[in-house]
């Protein structure tokens, strides 16, 4: 425990997200990301302890499950359940899908639309694969999917990250909600991209025999959003 916190005190703090501090370090010569879930002082200590532990475990489990199925996620190097630190591969030469979409939208390349659609199809396929393994991500946003080697066209590969809210479930309901969460994050982060998200869902549907049931659930969940006949 002491060793980890001492180690991190000398590390480069990359960012403080909503629930963890992210550091960039070298571990045995490898570029490494450390995700430290620190105590949240606003919540009851008992609740905080349970959530922090549960999420560290869930994140590790889901990453392993994805990697075993050949779904790209960072390699895990070391987990410390005392200080709630996960040491994992630093996906070098990558950017978030969020930044990449923004970049493509700003470019005036004639292939802009083609590139965006290709990316959306890639994401749809990846998520279908993940759901086929019964992994529910729980926090799908375009910030939580990395693009390795962006710009290298067909050579670029997507990597899923941030599995803290993930869990294992085979229910179409859970998978539908997973897509619903992504849909809202996607459309609020990237305004006016409805056709693009439609492409993503099409690709999801084509990539898995179990997708139809999930999409039907998604339609159901959309109607549950209480006041959202959004024009905005």
């Amino acid at each position: 425990m002491m060793a980890v916190s001492e180690f991190l005190s000398r590390a480069e703090l990359l960012k403080q997200g909503a629930e963890a501090r992210v550091y960039r370090v070298q571990l045995l010569g490898r570029p490494t990301i450390v995700k430290e879930r620190f105590p949240k002082l606003y919540r009851h200590p008992e609740l905080d302890k349970k959530l922090t532990h549960r999420r560290t475990v869930q994140e590790v489990r889901s990453i392993l499950r994805c990697r075993r199925a050949g779904i790209p996620a960072p390699s895990l190097y070391f987990v410390d359940y005392t200080s709630h630190c996960i040491f994992m591969e630093d996906v070098v030469n990558s950017c978030t899908v969020r930044d990449h979409i923004a970049l493509l939208q700003r470019s005036d390349s004639p292939q802009q639309l083609e590139h965006l659609e290709h990316l959306a199809e890639q994401v749809g396929r990846l998520l279908a694969q993940m759901h086929d393994e019964d992994v529910i991500h729980g926090d799908l946003t375009t910030s939580n999917i990395l693009l390795r080697a962006p710009g290298s066209g067909s050579g670029s590969e997507l990597v899923l990250i941030d599995f803290g809210l993930s869990y294992i479930s085979a229910l179409p309901e859970d998978k539908g909600v997973d897509l619903y969460v992504l849909e809202k994050a996607f459309l609020s982060t990237h305004p006016h991209t409805e056709p693009l998200f439609e492409k993503l869902l099409q690709s999801y549907t084509c990539s898995s025999p179990r997708a139809t049931a999930v999409i039907n659930k998604l339609d159901e969940v959309r109607l549950r959003g209480r006041k959202r006949s959004m024009v905005g």
Binding site: Q16, G17, A18, E19, K40, L41, Y42, R43, H44, E46, L47, K50, L51, G138, D139, L140, T141, S143, L165, V177, D178, Y180, V181, L182, K184, A185, S188, T189, P191, V221, R224, G225, R226, K227, R228, S229, M230, V231, G232
Partner: protein
């Protein structure tokens, strides 16, 4: 100078407020209170509003020291909310607008809360947590629209509190949420309840069924915990979820301000937890008290004032109401960049 009168009655409060250029001249309100164990039904609520609305209107004008001729615009809540009470209040607003010969303006209830919060707290570009009996949303402003980043995927947080109060027969006077807050101060034992955050969304129905179906009465009768402990644990759980999704939205948008609006927003424990989170991030919390958090007429007047000044009016034939639907397009604010 622009003077706007606002009529609000989308749920169990009926309020009429008058605003003159950012100054609240009057803001009287009545609440329809039901016996313990019961919620408010639309038709009974509408009957209550019908019975008192003219008294409240007279109070609003008298306290402001104004005559109908001094009013420039009549704003009313167009929705979302309960159908019958909305219809009742819209009808009165339409009638006085015609009697007084003043333009009419339909206002979105949620935008009313946000604009009132901004007026009172002077928050500039906040991430807004809107929490009430019917709504639970995390909203941020981008590209001339209020955008919903997170929300409940089933029931609202206030609805969860109200229905919990019904299960263990807590009084609805002055409000179930207020009474839960007071009882929670005497609770000490933390009872674990379901905790459901999905991305920036939350779900409360699981907590409610957990309490309704088995736990509450069993735990209380076996002496495992007290009603106060349950209130305490419920608040800790619900509010942790709300603070968490607000923080997620802030991290997502890079925002450094939080504004809490809506009836549940006057809960001091929620404000305290949000404040701790903000301090950890170097952000700033803005909140208001029960006068403006809870549904009131001034908030409709304030949003109406903004809209009227930017050239909006609602023609009589368009002065309908809606129980759902949230069109959050705004023309009176300059776009912020997130």
């Amino acid at each position: 100078m622009t003077v706007v009168i606002g009529f609000e009655g989308s749920a169990n409060k009926i309020g009429i407020g008058i605003i003159r250029d950012g100054e609240v001249l009057s803001n009287p309100r009545r609440t329809y209170i039901t016996p313990p164990g019961q919620g408010f039904m639309p038709s009974d609520t509408a009957r209550h509003h019908r019975a008192v609305i003219l008294t409240v209107l007279k109070e609003a004008l008298d306290q402001a020291g104004l005559k109908p001729a001094d009013i420039d615009c009549v704003a009313y809540t167009k929705g979302p909310g309960m159908g019958a009470p909305l219809v009742t209040v819209a009808l009165v607003a339409r009638t006085v607008a015609q009697l007084w010969g003043k333009p009419l303006l339909g206002v979105n209830h949620c935008v009313g809360h946000i604009e009132m919060g901004r007026l009172i707290t002077k928050a500039n570009n906040p991430t807004v947590l809107y929490v009430s009996g019917g709504n639970t949303q995390v909203i941020a402003y981008s590209e001339r629209r209020y955008r919903i980043f997170g929300e409940t995927i089933d029931i609202a947080v206030g609805n969860c509190l109200d229905r919990f109060a019904r299960v263990i027969k807590i009084s609805n006077d002055p409000s179930p949420g207020y009474n839960i807050e007071q009882m929670a101060k005497k609770g000490s034992q933390y009872v674990e309840l379901p905790y459901t955050v999905k991305g920036m969304d939350v779900s409360f129905s699981g907590i409610l069924s957990y309490i309704e179906v088995s736990s509450a009465h069993k735990m209380l009768s076996s002496g495992q915990c007290t009603a106060e402990d349950l209130c305490f644990s419920l608040q800790e759980t619900l509010f942790s979820m709300l603070v968490e999704i607000t923080e997620r939205a802030m991290a997502h948008c890079g925002s450094q301000e939080v504004l809490i609006v809506g009836g549940v927003g006057c809960n001091l424990r929620l404000q305290e937890m949000m404040d701790v989170m903000c301090k950890e991030r170097g952000a700033k919390l803005f909140a208001t008290d029960e006068r403006f958090c809870i549904d009131n007429g001034a908030m409709i007047a304030q949003a109406g004032w903004e809209m009227f000044r930017s050239g909006h009016v609602t023609e009589l034939k368009d002065s309908w109401i809606t129980q759902r639907s949230l069109c959050l397009f705004t023309t009176w604010r300059t776009p912020w960049v997130i």
